[in-house]
Symmetry: C2
DNA sequence: CTGAAAGCGCTTACAG
DNA sequence: CTGAAAGCGCTTACAG
């Protein structure tokens, strides 16, 4: 295996100093055009690439962003939530566009994630993506702040802490979705998903949902809210429990599409017709939402835009620019699961 | 912002030399147990993390793997093929398990991907994942070999080159799927997907398909094969063209699930009943396959296992161990789109 | 078991 | 516009 060329090899061939090679390669204005061209030609010929470890070490930044995906340990099968998977896709694309490399890692919620990447100088900053008990999560966020780690996160705004978040208007999404189903004549809503400060996104959706009910003179029946976390299986179980309880309802609002899909399956297994007997609505608009039977009405979170905003915000944080938390709108996607 | 501690800071506090700190932190057997404990305690207290840039530079390896996702530029919307997305998920998990970091990047098929990651010492090796015209792709592979880049790839075996691949038994998968539908009484098969050396995976599926037809005394009608690449839209178009041609057929074999899903939609838009009028089968078993209506019969490629094999194989290649190309079995997933 | 020293391949003041 | 030199923070022979 021939050893890789260094900037000294190029300097030697070009008849200039190594410093000049370094400048020429980075298009420094301090270098003569002719020299620059010669150096670059030789670099190309030798298939030379700057050693990033050396340049990062010297310049103390890495042009690399880290993505930390974390999940609630309760969900321990090996599949990533499809919503986060599509975020992962859009973040990867956004990083390429901005000229950053992306380091991806998984952490369990209970791991000790002392921002290993940033501390070890492998990344300039971190994007946090995942669900988990927010109360536990908040502790970690505080640690990150104390360590001066530069990061942005996906999720609801955390008013009590100086954190840059990018998230969706969950409240409005929940409101809009509920209102739409009310227009279709449904009156008795069940909500599947934790509605507490342990799950702020779900909670906001629930609050929007309740507001829509109240604004339409409908009653919020607390006993029709069952906890569920974002998996199909959990949605199935929660819906099954609801059905067994014997309470009557004509719509199930799944706090996420995965929950809604599981709920729909539970309903159909028990002989209910969707949407005639019970309408079902979800949240996220994951790819499979348009393929369920009937196709799922949901609130779309724009993952492409979210990925771009997350990356752009983090780059600004790294550069010390001022950045504000962004609240993206959701869009109502009407399909057939809500009765039109 | 306080500056990060270095190994010298720890050495000073521990009253030992910096070399000893370095050894203690890497659990070298050359260091006294007591010294080691003291050093590690201080490191923890200062929240010290080894600077990876410096250690990689010095030791000339990085404990990082790079994943190069490439796509045919014809598919230029921002969504990654869901099959690769789930591979991405499993590769990420496999890397964490093996103690490697993962750098992810996108490349267009026509980019100059001179293994930028490896050359720049950011990664010890590369995993190649994507579809594209294989003839173009092969050129790139040859370049990588010439550069002594360590890599493994997902896909069909390339017999002519010394390359480690991990892939599925596409031939057998195509055979098995076709045979199953023949059992269900279908006789006139259309195949949507390029069947040539430009797309070896699809081609193998096609060949397996043809063999199954021949073994069952059915005719292979070449005019019922239409090119398509792996998007829903392309599948829709190819199926629409097929329908317009007026030829008769009672089964469509989509070379991938995405193609099959698009074809199913085209059939239903034209008033055909699936599977009564026309059966549809796909390949991959992407998440949405179980949610289409009717649910799609397909050949499952085990992405979890694939990710693990890819990572393990690459690590072996990096360590100079001998590795062979792996051919994973596919499994027939029978749902309702094939008539039982 | 420990320390002094060299050096990985760059970038960047500093001097001209 | 260019070059000589220092130094980023480690790892690893080498010597003891």
């Amino acid at each position: 295996m021939k050893s890789k060329p260094t900037s000294f090899d190029i300097a030697y061939r070009a008849g200039v100093s190594q410093s000049t090679v370094s400048r020429a390669l980075r298009n420094s204005p301090l270098v003569n055009e002719e020299t620059r061209q010669k150096v670059q030609a030789i670099a190309k010929e030798l298939n030379y690439k700057v050693d990033k470890n050396a340049s990062n070490l010297r310049s103390q930044h890495s042009s690399t962003l880290a993505l930390l995906l974390f999940e609630d340990p309760t969900n321990d099968d090996s599949f990533i939530n499809p919503f986060f998977l599509s975020m992962l896709g859009s973040i990867t694309k956004a990083c390429s566009d901005k000229g950053y490399d992306l380091l991806v890692s998984f952490q369990q919620m209970n791991d000790d994630w002392h921002a290993e990447f940033e501390d070890s100088n492998k990344a300039d900053g971190i994007i946090l993506l995942g669900y988990g008990d927010f109360v536990d999560y908040e502790e970690k966020l505080i640690q990150l702040i104390e360590q001066d780690t530069r990061f942005v996160r996906w999720g609801a705004d955390v008013e009590s802490l100086p954190i840059v978040s990018v998230g969706c208007d969950n409240f409005h999404g929940g409101y809009q979705l509920t209102e739409h189903v009310i227009m279709n004549g449904k009156k008795y809503f069940a909500f599947l998903g934790e509605a507490s400060s342990h799950a702020p996104e779900f909670y906001q959706r629930y609050l929007g949902h309740c507001k829509a009910l109240a604004d339409n003179n409908l009653v919020v029946d607390k006993s029709l809210q069952n906890d569920a976390f974002s998996t199909e299986e959990s949605g199935y179980q929660a819906a099954a429990k609801l059905i067994e309880s014997g309470k009557s309802f004509d719509c199930i609002f799944g706090a996420s599409d995965l929950i809604a899909v599981g709920a729909m399956r539970a309903l159909q297994d028990k002989g209910y017709k969707v949407p005639e007997d019970v309408a079902v609505i979800g949240f996220d608009d994951i790819p499979m939402a348009s393929f369920t039977f009937p196709p799922l009405t949901t609130a779309k979170q724009n993952t492409k835009l979210a990925g771009e905003l997350l990356v752009e915000s983090l780059i600004k944080v790294i550069n010390g620019e001022e950045v504000k938390t962004t609240l993206m709108p959701t869009s109502l996607i009407v399909r057939n699961s809500c009765g039109s």
